[in-house]
């Protein structure tokens, strides 16, 4: 029997979708008290991304930190012209602690881009996104895409206090109308956010709703979306092992056609229809 010829170039892709590559760290700095921003020099083949997609990161093992499985992380920014890939993260566990040790010039094994991202409908002129804390990072590429397509974007950015508000500046740079709400100013309650959005809906200024992560935000937006017939999408998180759909680890429940169905966050998501997602 003929032995198959092998292409063993690292990350050789069968159909050109997903690659395992060694990226190089350009910077990895604290951006405020709580978050770090990692900037990687990455090959062009992994920078053909969609907003809302993620990478599966092989966090470095050291004497102090021994993460084993890869860690999924949503893309904060992809810049094919500059050859850069950005991640915004909060140090929370073994994986992000290990990531925080990365220094300029280090190599970092990444796999992606993975999953299905946010979709912007052809006739959606006015987009509204709402997210909190590091969740805003997931929505940053959506702002970039909205600007590229010439759509209007309103970004409601929530945080504990104004000094830890993420990405408001980035959204402004992308031409978005930015509304900040914080716990310390007493403006981040769901009722208040709901009123802000309802007001814009009343003025016919919302064609689609975008969010990620939070349960309370999901429930509030589902109510508004259903009431006014406005479509929406949510990026969800779930613990993952393989990140590409093989292991069935990252399933969540969804409501579809009157039935409960299970889907893989890594493969069918991480972005799902707002009304099909289920609070947890």
């Amino acid at each position: 029997m003929q032995v198959n010829h092998l292409d063993v170039e690292a990350g050789a892709s069968a159909n050109g979708k997903v690659f395992e590559v060694e990226a190089t760290v350009k910077s990895n700095v604290v951006v405020n008290g709580e978050y770090r921003k990692l900037v990687l020099a990455a090959p062009a083949k992994v920078l053909n991304c969609q907003p809302g997609q993620f990478f599966h990161l092989l966090c470095p093992v050291s004497a102090e930190h021994q993460p084993y499985l890869r860690r999924p992380m949503s893309i904060y920014g992809y810049y094919p012209e500059a050859g850069e890939l950005h991640f915004l993260y909060k140090v929370a566990g073994e994986g992000t602690r290990a990531m925080a040790m990365l220094r300029e010039g280090d190599t970092f094994n990444i796999m992606g881009p993975l999953g299905k991202g946010y979709v912007i409908g052809a006739d959606w002129q006015n987009l509204l996104l709402v997210a909190r804390g590091v969740g805003l990072a997931t929505l940053a590429p959506l702002a970039q895409e909205a600007r590229r397509l010439g759509r209007n974007l309103t970004a409601i950015c929530s945080a504990r206090s104004p000094d830890v508000l993420m990405s408001a500046e980035l959204f402004r740079d992308m031409g978005a109308e930015v509304i900040t709400v914080t716990d310390s100013e007493g403006t981040s309650g769901m009722d208040h956010i709901r009123a802000i959005i309802a007001d814009r809906i009343a003025q016919n200024r919302v064609d689609a709703l975008y969010t990620c992560g939070s349960n309370r935000m999901l429930t509030m937006l589902q109510g508004l979306g259903a009431e006014h017939g406005i479509p929406g999408q949510i990026a969800l998180e779930q613990q993952m092992a393989c990140g590409v759909g093989m292991c069935q680890c990252c399933v969540r429940s969804f409501r579809r056609g009157g039935k409960i169905t299970h889907e893989r966050v890594c493969r069918e998501g991480p972005v799902f229809d707002l009304q099909e997602a289920m609070a947890w």
Partner: protein
């Protein structure tokens, strides 16, 4: 040019590297060319639709992982209509992993899954048997023999029995499975384990316990593969903790005719492609012409049988 081909009964594989069930699917084709693998082994399918276990389904321990996925399955009809046709595009043997909670249901599934396009059936007898108080079929020689006998009667395709490390009767189970008609043994499945979060005091898996896989399992599965290869005449396929070429070579020397790579693919999805290339280089560097020249060459001639087949550390 070295010869990587290996034979599992009447099947010839282009090379001895294949995925372990549950760590492989069509989705991996997004990242590697599945056409280079020695065989394709699908995730275990059951007759009926199953939802699987509560989350979290996976957790990591130092340098390895635990899983309790629970065999979610879209059922046999979906599998025959959607999964098997996907693999038609490859000239690689397709091995379908199946499981059931009773011997009769197992045999029925074995018969129904014996369709064109399937080269062999991996019978996952490491899962709990509801007729034996939830003990896995492969834990005892008697239950392994009984289910294997029924499976043998249900299909003419090669049957690979996937054994469990959760037994104290490794060679007895292997011999019983061979006697009942298995064409090969896959050694082994995951080892029942547990992890607890010390802050919340909750088990880290939604199902409390799960199977250990990854490098921590390798010495255990290697020992079992060696004992099985020593005791049976049918081929043994090594499985457990393989991530480097040294791991592959070690299993081959222990007596494995081929190996399955599982958890390592989660860490580096290109692992199997790299291992095939590394194997070619290893053989070439060592002036070994054929993979088969390595198989079972462990130098254990001085050891007594009592030592070879022991089930407890002295």
């Amino acid at each position: 040019m070295v010869n990587l081909t290996t034979r599992i009964g009447n099947l010839t594989l282009a090379n001895p590297i294949m995925p372990a069930s549950g760590t492989f699917s069509e989705d991996l084709a997004d990242i590697i060319d599945l056409g280079v693998l020695g065989a394709h082994v699908t995730k275990t399918v059951t007759r009926e639709k199953r939802g699987g276990n509560p989350t979290p389904r996976v957790c990591e321990v130092r340098g390895s992982m635990l899983n309790s996925i629970g065999i979610p399955s879209k059922g046999i009809d979906h599998f025959i209509q959607n999964v098997i046709p996907f693999y038609h595009r490859y000239d690689v043997p397709l091995v379908v992993s199946i499981s059931a909670h009773s011997a009769d249901e197992f045999a029925r599934l074995c018969e129904e899954i014996s369709v064109p396009g399937v080269s062999a059936i991996e019978v996952n007898i490491s899962c709990p048997n509801i007729e034996e108080d939830g003990k896995a079929f492969a834990m005892r020689p008697s239950s392994a023999h009984a289910v294997m006998k029924k499976l043998r009667g249900a299909s003419d395709l090669p049957l690979w029995a996937k054994l469990s490390p959760n037994t104290g009767e490794t060679t007895e189970v292997a011999l019983a499975t061979q006697e009942a008609g298995a064409d090969a043994l896959v050694v082994s499945n995951t080892l029942l384990s547990m992890a607890i979060d010390i802050h919340t005091r909750k088990p880290k898996l939604g199902n409390l316990m799960g199977g250990l896989s990854g490098p921590a399992l390798k010495p255990i599965a290697l020992r079992m593969a060696y004992q099985c290869a020593k005791s049976v005449d049918i081929p043994v396929i090594g499985c457990g903790g393989i991530s480097t070429i040294e791991d592959v070579i070690e299993y081959l020397i222990a007596g494995a005719t081929a190996v399955q790579v599982g958890t390592a693919t989660f860490i580096n999805p290109t692992t199997m492609v790299r291992l095939i290339d590394d194997l070619r280089h290893f053989l070439s560097d060592q002036n070994i012409a054929n993979v088969s020249d390595l198989i079972g060459t462990v130098r254990d001639a001085d050891a007594a049988d009592a030592v070879v087949f022991m089930e407890a550390a002295p």
